[in-house]
């Protein structure tokens, strides 16, 4: 089972490629070298507060709007800005181009981190729990059996099952977002650092997985400096310049984007100035480490499929099943929920397992176990799933985009007209080009799935032919999935 806390401390697992590299990006540009002023900004202690504070105020405004504004979904800013605009920006731009930059400005842990640190900007120096920072709260260790992303997987699946409710009911959005906000604050008082973000936050889970594709990474410039020269390991333990990594990462061993929240504390605290913010090619990290991460990729793909069928497809009955708040059809909703959970947790994984077994058989050797093939090849569903989500999200913004314009003027649906756009009528934006956007995205997803799948196969097998043969069944599965999406999107 994967332990994200060990992500930066355990790189000697069996599933590692023979050369030990988990990141196959050869081309990298260090933005800190290219733009020294940007590094200065990142090292500036106030920067995170200055970015999170407005986000937090906007978030509180959304909660207020959800509670006391119009209870009609498309007339309330919490629904339109969170589930349409934010989601689109997150999945389409932030994650693929800027990794987990959202975690840098996320308001959920704002109060929790404030109470925990007893500071909004400054660093408290002290000595506790092996750290060089002083923190408040109980500072307990997160239960060992939960040091994986299974909880996030289940919570995300549960949350998405009720998506039709929070897309139409602002108060349900408040319950979900406010619940996460309260949970983040509460857990910060009990557990160390950002245990909530690391193990509980449903948004964090999929961000971590899809951040593997991101064209940005924060890494140690030279890991040898961390391992051999650096005695203090400030990134992990903190210093008077920066807090100990809230995500429990040690830069000397951090090889993937999955559990780096880009908070830039390591940039501030590194005594050797050994941190780089690199631009790299798409799909730089390719190592899936455990079943929990593999299942995350299955869940995300299943949800992209179910959402596409429910929200974009012509199936009125399924829409009615999903929209139980309107229809009150709990029997239909149970079927809908059952389909989601079965597809995500059993259906796709089972097909993947069969393809992995067949791949092992076709490879003609037993040198790689079915388990390793199953887990490592599941990475192929990361670019595939991400691009499918983007392909799903484009029509969402094209159809509902005009609501954003009117909501800016009347965020609570109270009859305001702040910037004179309150009465802009709903109108789909360039919706005639939806398929033109979706088809290339899906094909790009398939291309990266196969390309990276092949790269992974070469790390598993010494022989190129065996590697290619082992890949055939999963490529067939990926192609079938993309064809299903194409059929659904283009009719």
């Amino acid at each position: 089972m994967n332990n994200p806390q060990q992500d930066s401390t355990d790189v000697t697992r069996k599933t590692l490629p023979p050369d030990g590299k988990v990141n196959n990006a050869k081309f990298k540009i260090n933005l800190f070298v290219l733009f020294p002023w940007f590094k200065k900004i990142c090292k500036w202690r106030s920067i995170q507060f200055l970015l999170v504070f407005p986000t937090m105020v906007i978030f509180l405004f959304f909660l207020y709007a959800g509670l006391f504004g119009s209870r009609v979904g498309n007339r309330n800013i919490i629904v339109i800005f969170v589930w349409i605009l934010w989601w689109f920006l997150l999945i389409t731009f932030m994650v693929p181009f800027a990794s987990r930059v959202w975690c840098f400005v996320c308001p959920f842990p704002f109060f929790g981190e404030w109470f925990q640190r007893g500071a909004l900007i400054k660093v408290r120096v002290g000595k506790m729990l092996g750290l060089r920072n002083k923190m408040f709260g109980l500072n307990k260790r997160w239960p060992k059996f939960l040091t994986n992303i299974w909880l996030q997987n289940i919570l995300f699946l549960a949350m998405c099952t009720f998506s039709a409710m929070f897309l139409t009911r602002p108060v349900v959005s408040v319950l979900i977002l406010g619940g996460l906000f309260v949970a983040a604050t509460f857990l910060s008082m009990i557990y160390r650092q950002r245990a909530f973000c690391m193990y509980v936050c449903p948004v964090s889970g999929f961000q971590g997985l899809y951040a593997m594709t991101s064209m940005i990474e924060l890494r140690a410039t030279d890991k040898e400096v961390c391992r051999k020269t650096c005695k203090t390991k400030n990134c992990l333990t903190g210093s008077e310049e920066g807090w100990a990594c809230p995500w429990f990462q040690y830069m000397g061993k951090m090889e993937r984007n999955n559990y780096c929240g880009l908070c830039m504390e390591c940039v501030k605290s590194c005594p050797n100035d050994n941190i780089s913010l690199n631009v790299r090619p798409f799909c730089g990290d390719t190592l899936i480490k455990g079943y929990d991460e593999a299942w995350k990729s299955f869940i995300m793909l299943a949800l992209a499929m179910v959402y596409s069928v429910t929200l974009l497809g012509p199936f009125g009955t399924i829409k009615d099943w999903a929209n139980v708040a309107e229809t009150g059809n709990w029997k239909g909703f149970s079927i809908y929920a059952g389909i989601i959970w079965f597809t995500a947790l059993v259906g796709i994984p089972f097909v993947w397992y069969l393809a992995s077994r067949l791949g092992r058989f076709l490879s003609g050797t037993n040198e790689v176990s079915t388990k390793d093939i199953f887990i490592r090849y599941s990475y192929m569903l990361v670019p595939l799933g991400l691009l499918a989500w983007i392909a799903f999200s484009f029509p969402l913004i094209m159809i509902n985009g005009s609501y954003i314009i009117s909501i800016i003027s009347d965020p609570l649906g109270w009859g305001w007209d702040l910037v004179g756009t309150a009465h802009v009528p709903w109108k789909p934006i360039f919706s005639q080009y939806t398929a033109h956007v979706q088809i290339p995205l899906l094909l790009l997803g398939l291309y990266f799935a196969i390309k990276r799948g092949y790269d992974i196969s070469l790390t598993l097998y010494q022989n190129k032919s065996r590697a290619a043969r082992s890949l055939i069944p999963v490529v067939v599965v990926c192609t079938a999935m993309i064809l299903a999406f194409l059929k659904l999107f283009t009719g």
Partner: protein
């Protein structure tokens, strides 16, 4: 650093406290306060659940549990009024024919306004005239205009409130099933308790909604035994188009014609004609039920209404 920390802390605390205050201040000052001085601004929220135009603030925190009551709007003669309508759920239509307000289309989540001057003292009934749900027909209330210096008049009570929880009887008994449908579908709100009619419909050519407890008479069923025979045929689902033998009911063709007319009225609805062509549209209209009621349902309602007729006791 200490100064920055204090400044940051103050910023957070102030913004958390000030946020709701600023929102409400803006709303009161720049939205509600934007109307000319002396104007009475009244916000009416339409709630399909329960059927009410309410003066209460309706939002996500109270919609689910609160029992919203139809508003009585009290005004004084000469008041200049702006009514701000908002729908909290589905499409509604506000209509107060006697004050010449509306019909105002009220889309969910949009605020629309209607302005008027309360010139004459009186009680004026308002309605929702867009089929908005199970409680649509109960969505009525009063605008009461009182002479200056006088206490507000008490309007007559709106006949009844929407009751959505009728016990569902077995479908096979047409009379009880018809009664259930008559009450559940709010036929009672216009046609009165037990089909007595008498509900006023402004500028309607017949003034009032006709009674239906005399449906037997309207169908030319002059004897109780004729009604029993006809109801029996309805229960047996006899095909009136393909009768082998005509029943023992006088003027049966006429009865059949009237029965079909009554059923068509339920099926397709009817536009209520104006008494004064230049006057307002009558607010109460017979809607089409063909999408909601089956053929059996319609026959059940007719059966129930036929059974309401009070026969003189022949034996006496």
């Amino acid at each position: 650093m200490k100064f920055k920390e204090i400044l940051a802390t103050i910023s957070v605390i102030v913004s958390v406290i000030a946020l709701p205050l600023v929102i409400n201040w803006y709303h009161e000052s720049y939205v509600l306060g934007a109307y000319p001085e002396g104007t009475k601004v009244i916000t009416l929220s339409a709630v399909a659940k329960g059927g009410a135009w309410t003066l209460d603030k309706v939002d996500g925190t109270n919609y689910w549990w609160k029992d919203f009551k139809p508003a009585t709007i009290n005004l004084e003669e000469g008041d200049k009024v702006v009514l701000r309508f908002e729908s909290t759920d589905v499409h509604h239509r506000f209509y107060c024919p006697e004050l010449n307000i509306g019909p105002v289309e009220v889309e969910p989540g949009h605020i629309v306004t209607a302005e008027f001057e309360a010139n004459e003292a009186g009680t004026y009934r308002y309605y929702c005239t867009s089929m908005c749900g199970d409680c649509h027909f109960y969505m009525q209330g009063w605008i009461v205009v009182t002479a200056k210096g006088q206490p507000p008049q008490q309007p007559e009570e709106i006949a009844m409130a929407c009751e959505q929880h009728y016990e569902k009887p077995p479908k096979k008994d047409m009379v009880t099933w018809g009664k259930y449908l008559y009450y559940k579908n709010a036929c009672i709100s216009c046609h009165g308790d037990e089909g007595q009619g008498g509900v006023e419909n402004i500028n309607y050519i017949k003034d009032e909604i006709p009674a239906h407890d005399i449906l037997a008479e309207k169908l030319w069923l002059k004897e109780k035994e004729h009604v029993d025979i006809f109801v029996d045929m309805l229960k047996k689902r006899v095909d009136f188009e393909d009768l082998e033998e005509e029943p023992d009911i006088p003027l049966f063709n006429l009865v059949l014609k009237q029965y079909n007319a009554a059923k068509d009225l339920i099926r397709y609805g009817k536009h209520c004609a104006k008494a004064d062509a230049a006057g307002p549209e009558p607010p109460l209209q017979m809607v089409s039920w063909q999408a909601l009621l089956t053929d059996y349902d319609m026959d059940s309602i007719i059966t129930y209404l036929l059974m309401l007729y009070e026969w003189e006791d022949d034996e006496e």
